[in-house]
Point group: C2
Amino acid sequence: MTQVSANTDLIAQVSWDADGLVPAIAQEFQSGRVLMMAWMNRESLQLTIDEGQAVYWSRSRGKLWRKGESSGHVQRLRELRLDCDGDTLLLLVEQLGGIACHTGRASCFYRVLQDDGWQPVLPIIKDPEQIYE
Amino acid sequence: MTQVSANTDLIAQVSWDADGLVPAIAQEFQSGRVLMMAWMNRESLQLTIDEGQAVYWSRSRGKLWRKGESSGHVQRLRELRLDCDGDTLLLLVEQLGGIACHTGRASCFYRVLQDDGWQPVLPIIKDPEQIYE
């Protein structure tokens, strides 16, 4: 990731929604696997750029969420992309520990639609109780 | 994509937001490229499954949006995934024409953060005026 100091301009060029948020998709840089989708506000985007690792805004907890702060499963930022409408971010990251999901799986998108409904297809790499002990 | 008839259960298992929507990420099945992010409501998800191609809900136009209806750049559904919280969908698709973006680029995520701000890095494959003529 090129070192870029966050500045007002590049933050202002994002089309923040009425709540001051945009969706941020995390994709594993090496494999191309889509890991998760979370939300960012202006501050979390600035911190993500400044710190070189994913910092989201937790809507449920109403606070900044440094991904990996309790699990160690930090996402190192390799590239940051913005879409045509400016209202969605795509983070290309190195996923430390190879686990993005709080269920202990590589990706949060572990359920696939099959004949009998949504079925989990990714293995649990690490027991969540061990991740968050 | 396995043929699945949409039913109340699998639609109900999605955690729709207060507006009855969820983000839907489209990823190119073959390359792993993240193409775009749009929104779905219950009806568009059901139609996506029934028709085997991406049908979104256009928030700006307030109506169903069969991706490719005017451009021909249809997204054939190969696999549909749901995340751990049930509030984000991931579509693995074949992108007809190799163009997902209304700007004529392969992906909507064509701007990359560089030292001098958000810079376009993907070529325009086809002039939008020719796409939507």
